[in-house]
Symmetry: C2
Subunit: 355 residues, 2 copies
C-alpha cells in the first residue's frame, strides 16, 4: 500500500479524472517488492538469461501479488516496434469483411498480435488517414483492401518497413503480398453456368473498375461470353459502387433494359442484395422471370426463396492467411490465391421460351 503520493494528491482539482484509480504497477514496483533489480524482473518475464530458481519464484510471486502487466508502451518504445497490426476494410458492417476480420482476429490472437481496425467506406481520404494513423502507431504491419488512389502512401509505408498485405485487390506497380480469390474464375463460372442454361441476355452488376477485383470479375464475365461465341450486351454491364443506394439504382437500371435480360450476375453480396431487392421491387419472379446469381455465400443466400446460386469466397480463411502473411509467420508463402467454388441452388433456371 503506502502509495504515498496519494494523501492529498496535487492533481484532481478541476480537471479531476476522478474515476481514475490506482496506477498499474511498473517493473520497478515489482523489483522493489521482490527485492531484486529491474533487469532481473525483465529476465524472468522474458525467459531470456539466467535467473536462479529462488529469485524467479520471488519475482513471480510479486508479479502475481501485484497483478503486474508489463506495459506494451514501455516495451514498444524500447524495442522500436509494437505487436499491433492495422486492418483496413471497406466496411466492417458488410458480412464479407466481418468474416474476413474474424479470421484475422483469430489468427492474430494466436500469433500474439493485436489488431487496430479501420473502416474506410472505400473512401480514399479516409484510407490515407488510417494509414497515417497506423504509421504513427508504429504498427508492425497492415492488412488492407486498398483503393487504387493512394499508391503513394502504400509505397511509403512499404519503404518504411511496414509489412503490407493486400486483400482482394492488388495495386499495379506495387509489389505487395496478397490474399485473393480467383476473381476471374469465379465470375466466369457464374456466367458460364447461366450460358449453359441457355441465357443469352445476361446482366452484370459489377464493382468499380478502379479496383482490380472489379476488373477481373468483369473480365471473367466477358471471357465466358467470348468462349461461348457470344457477344456481351454492353448496355447490360454496369459497374456500381458498393453503397446500397447506388447499387439499388444500378440494379434497377439493368432491369430497365428492353427487352428485360433473362439473367443477372451480381459481383458481390451488396450488389446481390440490391439485385434481389430490385427484382422484388419490380414484382418479378426468380427464377421464372429472371435468374439471379451472385458472388459471396452470405448466410441469407439460403434463407431467401428461392435459395441463391453463388460463388463462395472463403473469407475467414483469407483473413487467417492475411494475418499469417503480415507477421511474416514461419514459412509463410509470398501470396495466397484461392479458388472460388460454385454452389448451385435454385435461383437460376433456363430462360422461358425465348420468343
Amino acid at each position: 500500500m503506502s502509495e504515498p503520493g496519494r494523501p492529498d494528491l496535487p492533481d484532481g482539482t478541476e480537471d479531476a479524472h476522478l474515476a481514475a484509480g490506482a496506477r498499474q504497477p511498473t517493473i520497478k514496483t515489482i523489483a522493489a517488492a521482490a527485492g531484486v533489480g529491474v533487469g532481473t524482473v525483465s529476465r524472468v518475464l522474458s525467459g531470456r538469461g539466467y535467473v536462479s530458481l529462488d529469485t524467479r519464484a520471488k519475482v513471480e510471486e510479486a508479479v502475481r501479488e501485484l497483478r503486474y502487466r508489463p506495459s506494451a508502451i514501455g516495451r514498444g518504445l524500447k524495442e522500436q516496434r509494437t505487436k499491433n497490426i492495422g486492418l483496413l476494410v471497406a466496411d466492417v458492417s458488410n458480412s464479407y469483411y466481418g468474416d474476413f476480420a474474424k479470421g484475422v482476429l483469430a489468427e492474430a490472437r494466436h500469433l500474439d498480435r493485436h489488431v487496430i481496425v479501420g473502416s474506410s467506406d472505400d473512401d480514399a481520404a479516409a484510407e490515407r488517414e488510417y494509414v497515417e494513423l497506423f504509421l504513427e502507431q508504429r504498427v508492425e504491419g497492415i492488412i488492407a483492401f486498398p483503393s487504387s488512389e493512394n499508391l503513394g502512401v502504400w509505397r511509403e509505408a512499404k519503404e518504411l518497413g511496414v509489412n503490407l498485405v493486400f486483400a482482394d485487390r492488388v495495386l499495379d506497380g506495387l509489389d505487395v503480398p496478397s490474399v485473393v480469390v480467383d476473381n476471374h474464375d469465379g465470375a466466369y463460372a457464374l456466367t458460364e453456368y447461366l450460358i449453359v442454361l441457355g441465357h443469352r441476355r445476361i446482366g452484370y452488376l459489377g464493382g468499380p473498375r478502379e479496383v482490380s477485383s472489379g476488373r477481373e470479375r468483369e473480365q471473367g464475365y466477358r471471357d465466358a461470353h467470348a468462349d461461348a461465341g457470344l457477344e456481351v450486351v454492353e448496355e447490360l454491364v454496369v459497374p456500381s459502387h458498393f453503397t446500397r443506394r447506388n447499387a439499388f439504382a444500378n440494379a434497377l437500371r439493368i432491369l430497365g433494359a428492353e427487352p428485360l435480360p433473362t439473367a443477372l450476375v451480381a459481383s458481390n453480396n451488396i450488389l446481390g442484395e440490391a439485385a434481389i431487392g430490385a427484382v422484388r421491387h419490380l414484382g418479378l419472379d426468380i427464377p421464372d422471370d429472371l435468374s439471379v446469381v451472385m458472388f459471396d455465400d452470405v448466410p441469407w443466400a439460403t434463407l431467401v426463396t428461392p435459395p441463391i446460386t453463388v460463388v463462395t469466397q472463403p473469407a475467414r480463411r483469407l483473413g487467417r492467411e492475411a494475418a499469417r502473411l503480415v507477421v511474416r509467420a514461419a514459412s509463410a508463402p509470398g501470396s495466397v490465391l484461392v479458388r472460388t467454388e460454385l454452389v448451385v441452388r435454385s435461383s437460376a433456371a433456363p430462360p422461358r421460351a425465348t420468343a
Copy 2:
C-alpha cells in the same frame, strides 16, 4: 537493389531486419534539420507554448520534408496513456456487431481515437484474455458486450481507471455506464403483436439466461403473456447460445412440440436465421403454418419471402454513443437507453382456424 540509401549507418549489421527500410524520423531528426531543440519541435506540434513565427515555419518545413509522424509510442509513454480504446464484441462477423463496430469506429475517428478490436465468441476465457491484453496496451477505455463470468476482471479494469462502457448487457454489482436498448420492451412488443393477432401458442427462441439482455427479453415475452391473461407454455421457451448449430437445433426443438406452436419469437438475428432455416427445413409456410418475428432488422429481413416483422435496435447509433461515453466526451450522459421500434412486415398473420 541499391538500398544504399544509408551510406554507413551504425546499425544494420547482423540483426538486419532486411525487409525493414528507412526508420521513421524522430523528433530529434526534425530538431536537427530545423536547427532547433527538440522542445521547440514539440511545442510547434502540440501548439502549446510560444514559438516565433519564423521558427515555427522552419520546423513545419522540416516536418513536411521528412514526412515526420510523431511516434504514438513515445508520446504514450510520456503521457502515461494512449488514445486507444478496446472494443470487445461477441462475434465480428455478426452483422449486428458489425454495425455497432461501424458506429464505434466512425465516432472514434472523429474523437481521434484508435480502436483495438477483439471477438470473444462469447467465451469467458477469451474475454478475459482480451481484457488483459487491453490493459497491457494501456488503453484509455474498453467497450464490451460482457459475459457474466468475468466480474473480477471488469472490476479490476475499472479500479485501474480504465473507462468502461458496457453494451447490450449489464453486470450486476458493477456500476458501469452502458448503452442498451429497452430489451424488455422490444420483446414485449413482438409478443404482444402476436397475441393481438390471436396467437396463443407462441414459441420463444431466446438468448442465454446468463446475460442480462437474454433475461430481459425473456421477461418481456412473459410479461406480454401475463398482461394478456395468458399462460406461457414452458415447453416452448428455449434459451439458446448464439452459435448457428446450437440455434438451429433449438429452433427445431420448439418446432417439434405437439401441437405445433402457431408463432415464434426469435430474440436476435442469429436465432431468427436459425428459426427461418428450421421452418424451411420442415417445409412449413410462413405465415400460413407459422408466424415468425424477430429482434434485429438485418438487411436480409426484407429479402426473404415474406419479409420479416422485426424489432429494430439502432446498432450503429449505439456504437457511436458507446464511443462517446468511453472517452468521456463533452457532457456525455451516464448511460444510454434507447427504445426499440416494431417494424411490421408480413411474416406474421392470425393463426389458422384454431381447431
